[in-house]
């Protein structure tokens, strides 16, 4: 049995210690907004926040997650997150949408650290998140737009 602090709650899960956080979130807690894309930290679809930092949940075993605070897309609740999701909607960023939870978690992490990123900052921060539909042009635009919203 492992205890996990997630989206402000403490949950208990009965899994092996090597179970990646991704599968705990999806299969045990049924929070399906966090996606499985590659299982090897190459695509970013499984990005969640661990103590506020964007983290690939497919690479964090539950036994190593003791005492951390995990936030998934379902638990996003901050002015930065609101600005990012609003900008994503205004620009109709998603296509198939499968990678977008991860993109948004990464973008919220970026803007929380760097409220006015340059194109280069965006590329550096977002380069680990693959989008097969190629929404990258709009992701760049939406991050700038969200930054603009936060400035006001």
């Amino acid at each position: 049995m492992y205890e996990l602090k997630i989206n402000g709650e403490t949950r208990s899960v009965d899994v092996d210690g090597d179970t990646p956080l991704l599968w705990v979130i999806r299969d045990e807690l049924n929070l399906t907004g966090t996606k499985f894309g590659c299982g090897v930290a190459a695509c970013g679809a499984c990005t969640v926040h661990v103590d506020g930092a964007p983290t690939r949940s497919c690479q964090l075993a539950i036994e190593d997650a003791a005492g951390v605070e995990v936030t998934t897309i379902e638990g996003l609740n901050s002015p930065v997150a609101e600005a990012v999701q609003a900008a994503w909607q205004e620009m109709d960023v998603p296509q198939c949408g499968y990678c977008q939870s991860g993109q948004i978690m990464q973008a919220v992490g970026l803007l929380s650290e760097n409220p006015k990123p340059s194109d280069e900052d965006i590329d550096d921060s977002m380069a680990g998140n693959i989008c097969r539909c190629g929404t990258y042009v709009r992701i760049r635009g939406a991050i700038h737009k969200a930054a603009g919203k936060l400035e006001i």
């Binding site: 899994v15 092996d16 179970t19 990646p20 599968w23 999806r26 299969d27 045990e28 049924n30 929070l31 399906t32 907004g33 966090t34 996606k35 499985f36 894309g37 590659c38 299982g39 090897v40 190459a42 695509c43 679809a45 998934t72 897309i73 379902e74 999701q85 994503w88 909607q89 109709d92 960023v93 998603p94 296509q95 198939c96 949408g97 499968y98 990678c99 977008q100 939870s101 948004i104 965006i122 590329d123 550096d124 977002m126 380069a127 680990g128 998140n129 693959i130 989008c131 097969r132 539909c133 190629g134 929404t135 990258y136 042009v137 709009r138 992701i139 760049r140």
Partner: protein, 725 residues
């Protein structure tokens, strides 16, 4: 991908009907492309409407095409809402059940499916008429309720209004008054000049759910008591299970069972991680007697030998041999295109619940007709006993449009192997996806072309060697004629340039690697070879690449239109910074015309960086211009990443790649600026899901040539020694 190929079977008669949808108070309008008009209240039609208006004032559009990001759910809803004069905010979307009689693709006959960039093209009139018929009923309902002439009632943004009396009502309020009204056969459609939604960049219907984690993909479907299965498939295509030892796998906590199924050995577990660990512990012996054991190098060598022999003739005009002999200058090249995987973002998966006399399937269903039929056949059911629940699809690019329903069929076999004792979620890992076949075929093209004394192209001989996608599928009869698989030669056979002597011939060797359409199908290789060769001809003639193309396109005004627009917007011929260069390509696919100008730069260190792509598209009337722009961006990024570095290679029959690190898509940091311009058009709408992809690789290759003098004939570019910064 099938649109331009499958025989168009437009229906001649349509019956509109109105009836109750189980609750007496719902207004349901639908029609079916059948021969006999249906009576009101016919059970089949009642359950198969295109639009449903309910007393809660919601307008639910029933989408017959799946949504994999290409914007069809928004587009189909727009068509209905436009003719209905609905308020965009009151419109909801749901997916149609599997029913080829009602929800067939009108370009494909009695077949329900999405593909060939045909969703809006085939539905344009159908969904508008459904909206118009519903509007007509609502107006007559209001006329009856208010005892006023229908002709005095107008509809605006979801309200019925009678100006003179000041009366008005919502659609929902008029639903009870519509009971018993019959829909007219041919409702009056709007004058396109009065469109308020069509042609406008209105918001997508799927965006809110896709920015909050709420959108449900098959991967997210949770059915009570559901277990998860993964399959160990053979390392070589065509191998079979000889024996397996499940002892270690069954020791893994959470593993429930292990069974041989058609495609390999299935591991059933309480959750996904246990299934994956169980598979790692499984030991399987494979019977490789019928397996494909060749590697890519050997296949290319065999194709090269075949390319020396005449193939089946796909097109023959004039006398290409004599014309080549008499040409004032000649160019030639052998192009090599690798196998390509689609790698949609959502790994393939499917949930199935199988019971004694029925089954339910949850998947992002691209070919419901096939998935329903194949599932039924495997489970010993009638097709109508299988319910297909279509959910959001996390990308496809052709991968989900399988003529044998591959992963859905696997799910049915997995369910059958345990006698349906629990609902099962069959999950492919990314490794399963990359290694799993159904690739864009490996192709080799040999092209020789010549110009006359004035520089005009006088001869063009293109020989294509590549596996047939269609051979052995249910589509074979429609699309393979005289030994020519149309999807192997499309884009070359109908070359847009006027050349008096032209031969296109084809070899379709058999290889035991499963192949499939991949975003734009044959155009992904023919668009490349033809546009590189034309560039070489322009150079041989000493002429500008844009001006030269335009000169040969007198019979192709829409090609010329996009080419001129892209060149103008890209400031073709204008100054560029030191080390930069431009290249151009233009190609039609699925009746949409796309030209792209690429700007590349040689960076410090010698690597190439793609800086900007300027794209012009003519897709007829753009139902939603923002979706058109998005699809061009998407097609460009998909095609660019692939051209730069993607290849599936085989060694001794085994796939070398296994996940994104060695089959790496384009990343945001490599993404150029993209600018899209849409040609104003009143032509009927054509598709945009695929046509953005073919021009990008040749446009970039032609720009690289302009920058550094190197022609690229072997793809991906990384295989030709091109480094990207």
């Amino acid at each position: 991908m099938l649109k331009s190929l499958l025989k168009e079977q437009q229906t001649s008669r349509r019956g509109f009907l109105l009836g109750a949808s189980g609750t007496a108070a719902a207004l349901v309008v639908g029609f079916r492309p059948s021969v006999a008009p249906l009576a009101a209240g016919d059970a089949e039609a009642v359950h198969n409407p295109f639009v449903k208006i309910t007393p809660d004032n919601k307008v639910t559009v029933v989408a017959k095409h799946f949504e994999t990001g290409q914007g069809t759910s928004t587009g189909l809803s727009t068509l209905v809402a436009e003719e209905l004069d609905a308020d965009w905010d009151q419109v909801l979307v749901e997916w149609a059940p599997a029913d080829a009689k009602v929800y067939n693709n009108l370009h494909w006959g009695a077949f329900q499916g999405t593909g060939g960039s045909s969703a809006i093209a085939n539905s344009f009139m159908q969904y508008r008429k459904a909206g118009a018929a519903a509007r007509d009923i609502l107006v007559r309902a209001a006329a009856g309720a208010w005892k006023l002439p229908a002709s005095d009632i107008k509809v605006e943004k979801g309200r019925l209004i009678h100006d003179a009396s000041g009366q008005s009502a919502s659609f929902g309020e008029m639903v009870p008054h519509a009971a018993g009204l019959q829909a007219v056969e041919e409702p009056v459609l709007k004058d396109p000049a009065k469109f308020e939604l069509i042609g406008k960049a209105i918001p997508r219907k799927d965006t809110p759910a896709k920015t909050t984690g709420q959108a449900v993909f098959a991967m997210d479907v949770r059915v009570p008591d559901m277990i998860t299965a993964v399959i160990q498939r053979p390392p070589k295509f065509g191998a079979k299970v000889a024996s397996f030892d499940a002892a270690e796998a069954l020791k893994v906590r959470g593993v429930i069972d292990v069974k041989a199924v058609g495609s390999g050995v299935a591991i059933y577990a309480r959750n996904t991680w246990a299934a994956i660990k169980g598979r790692d512990a499984l030991s399987v012996e494979w019977d490789e007697a019928e397996a494909e054991t060749r590697g890519s190098e050997e296949i290319f060598a065999e194709y090269e030998a075949l390319a020396k022999q005449p193939g089946a003739i796909a097109r023959q005009d004039g006398d290409v041999g004599t014309a080549l002999a008499q040409a004032s200058k000649k160019v030639s090249a052998t192009f090599r295109f690798p196998y390509l995987a689609h790698t949609p973002m959502e790994p393939l998966n499917c949930v199935i619940r199988s019971e004694a006399q029925s089954a339910e399937v949850w998947t992002g269903s691209q070919f419901p007709t096939i998935e329903q039929g194949v599932t039924a056949a495997i489970l010993g059911l009638k097709p109508e006993e299988v319910t297909i629940h279509t959910v959001y699809a996390g990308g496809s690019f052709g991968r989900r449009a399988t003529p044998n329903a591959d992963y859905v069929a696997e799910a049915a076999m997995v369910a059958k192997a345990i006698d349906g004792r629990a609902p099962v979620h069959l999950v492919w890992t990314r490794e399963d996806d990359v290694k799993g076949g159904f690739y864009r075929p490996l192709n080799l093209h040999r092209v020789e072309a010549g110009i006359d004394g004035e520089g005009q192209p006088s001869a063009w001989h293109q020989r294509i060697v590549g596996q047939s996608i269609l051979a052995g599928t249910p589509f074979e009869g429609f699309l393979i004629k005289d030994g020519i698989d149309a999807t192997s030669v499309e884009g070359a056979q109908n070359l847009a340039y006027d050349v008096p002597n032209i031969t296109v011939d084809l070899h379709s060797p058999k290889v035991g690697v499963p192949v499939l359409w991949w975003r734009a199908v044959g155009h992904t290789h023919t668009g490349y070879s033809t546009e590189v060769i034309v560039d070489m001809l322009a150079e041989a003639a000493g002429q500008d690449p844009v001006a030269y193309r335009l000169k040969q396109m007198k019979n192709h005004p829409r090609h010329a239109g996009v080419l001129k627009l892209a060149a103008e917007k890209a400031n073709w011929g204008g100054d560029l910074p030191e080390g930069w260069a431009r290249g151009v390509a233009v190609h039609e696919s699925f009746n949409s015309y796309v030209a792209q100008v690429a700007e590349v730069a040689i960076e410090e260190g010698g690597g190439i960086k793609v800086k900007r792509i300027v794209c012009a598209v003519d897709c007829g009337l753009a139902v939603n211009p923002d979706v058109v722009v998005a699809q061009m961006e998407s097609g460009i990024i998909y095609g660019l990443g692939t051209a730069i570095r993607n290849a599936i290679t085989l060694d001794g029959g085994e796939v070398d790649q296994d996940n994104f690190p060695d089959y790496e898509p384009l990343r945001i940091s490599e993404t150029p600026e993209i600018e899209v311009h849409i040609v104003n058009s009143t032509e009927a709408p054509t598709g945009v899901g695929e046509p953005g992809t073919p021009p990008v690789a040749p446009a970039v290759a032609n720009a690289i040539y302009a920058a550094m003098g190197k022609r690229i004939f072997t793809l991906p570019f990384s295989e030709s020694g091109i480094e990207f910064a």
